[in-house]
C-alpha cells in the first residue's frame, strides 16, 4: 500500500466516511499494517481538533449538575464504573 493510499483511507476513516466493505477492509488492513495504524492514529487526533472550529459556546451549568447526579445514582447502584455496562465501545 502506498503512502498516499494509507493517508487517504486514514483521512476518510478519521472523518467517519468509510462504511460497509470499505470500512471492513480498512480495519483488516489496519490490523496487518503498523504504518497504516500509525497514520490512522495521527489523523484521528488531527480530526478531533476540528471541534475547535465550531463557534464556541459554554455547556449549560444544568448539564454538569445533571451528569453528576446521574453519576451519583450509578455510584450508588453499581460502585465503580462499568459494572452495569453491558458491552464495550472501542476506545481511542
Amino acid at each position: 500500500m502506498s503512502r498516499e493510499v494509507r493517508e487517504e483511507s486514514s483521512a476518510l476513516h478519521a472523518l467517519g466516511l468509510l462504511a460497509g466493505d470499505e470500512l471492513a477492509r480498512f480495519r483488516r488492513e489496519c490490523h496487518a499494517d503498523p504504518a497504516l495504524r500509525e497514520v490512522s492514529c495521527v489523523l484521528r487526533e488531527v480530526t478531533a481538533h476540528l471541534v475547535h472550529w465550531a463557534p464556541p459556546y459554554a455547556a449549560p451549568e444544568a448539564l454538569r449538575e445533571r451528569l453528576l447526579e446521574g453519576i451519583d445514582l450509578r455510584r450508588g447502584t453499581a460502585g465503580r464504573p462499568g459494572r452495569e455496562a453491558s458491552g464495550r465501545e472501542p476506545a481511542g
Binding site: 498516499e4 493517508e7 487517504e8 483521512a11 476518510l12 478519521a14 472523518l15 467517519g16 466516511l17 462504511a19 492514529c41 495521527v42 489523523l43 484521528r44 487526533e45 488531527v46 480530526t47 478531533a48 481538533h49 476540528l50 471541534v51 475547535h52 472550529w53 465550531a54 463557534p55 464556541p56 459556546y57 459554554a58 455547556a59 449549560p60 448539564l63 454538569r64 445533571r66 451528569l67 453528576l68 446521574g70 453519576i71 451519583d72 450509578r74 455510584r75 460502585g79 465503580r80 464504573p81 462499568g82 452495569e84 455496562a85 464495550r88 465501545e89 472501542p90 476506545a91 481511542g92
Partner: protein
C-alpha cells in the same frame, strides 16, 4: 482524589497525560476527576454538537450520553490508540452525526440541514465558552490552521466533519468528482497535521 498535576499547561503532551490520568481516576469511580474532565472537555464538545445539530436540547443530550459512556467505559480506554480527548470527540460526533442522519431520513431535508458557512469571516456574536486559557489558545491555533487551508479543502472538511455527509453526498454537494473530494480531504488533513504538529 489524587491530585492531577499541571492541569493548566500549554504542553500538549502534558495535557494529554493529565487527561489520561483523570480518565484513569474516573475508571476507579472518582467523581471529582469526572467533574474535572467534564470541565476540560465540555466546552468544545458541546460547541461541536450544537453546531452539528443546531439544537441546544439535542446537543445537551448528546454530550450527556457521551460523558455517561466515558464514565461507564473509562476502564476500556487505551492511551496507545489515541488521546482521551479524541475518544471523547469521537463519542460526541458519532452520536450527533447519527442523529442528524436519522433526522434527515425522516424529514428528507438534506439540503437544509447542513450549515452553509461557519461564519468565521464575520462576527457571528457567538458567546465565548472557553474561560480556560489553555483550551482557548489551542482553539485559536486550530482556527488559524483551518483558516490557512485552501477554501476547497476547508469546505470538504467542513461538510465531512460537521455536515455528516457521506463521501458521495459531499461530491454531489460540491459538484466535484469523488476522487477530487477524497484528495481534498486528504490534503486538508495533512496540512492541518503539519500546522498542528506541536499540539499533537
Amino acid at each position: 482524589m489524587a491530585e492531577a498535576p499541571l492541569l493548566l499547561t500549554n504542553d500538549p503532551g502534558e495535557r494529554d497525560r493529565t487527561d489520561a490520568l483523570l480518565l484513569g481516576l474516573v475508571a476507579e469511580g472518582d467523581r471529582e476527576a469526572f467533574g474535572r474532565l467534564y470541565d476540560r472537555f465540555s466546552g468544545p464538545l458541546y460547541s461541536a454538537a450544537l453546531h452539528i445539530l443546531q439544537d441546544a436540547a439535542e446537543a445537551q443530550d448528546i454530550v450527556h450520553d457521551a460523558f455517561i459512556t466515558l464514565w461507564e467505559k473509562a476502564s476500556s480506554f487505551e492511551r496507545t490508540r489515541g488521546s482521551a480527548f479524541s475518544w471523547a470527540v469521537t463519542l460526541v460526533r458519532n452520536r450527533a452525526i447519527d442523529r442528524i442522519r436519522m433526522r434527515r431520513r425522516r424529514a428528507e431535508l438534506l439540503a437544509e440541514s447542513v450549515p452553509e458557512d461557519l461564519g468565521y469571516g464575520t462576527d457571528n456574536g457567538a458567546p465565548s465558552a472557553d474561560d480556560a486559557a489553555v483550551q482557548g489558545d489551542n482553539a485559536r491555533l486550530v482556527r488559524a490552521a483551518i483558516a490557512a487551508l485552501p477554501a476547497e479543502q476547508r469546505r470538504a472538511l467542513e461538510l465531512a466533519f460537521f455536515g455528516g455527509l457521506t463521501q458521495e453526498e459531499i461530491a454531489r454537494r460540491l459538484e466535484e468528482p469523488l476522487g477530487t473530494v477524497k484528495a481534498r480531504i486528504r490534503r486538508g488533513l495533512l496540512k492541518l497535521r503539519e500546522a498542528l504538529a506541536p499540539q499533537l
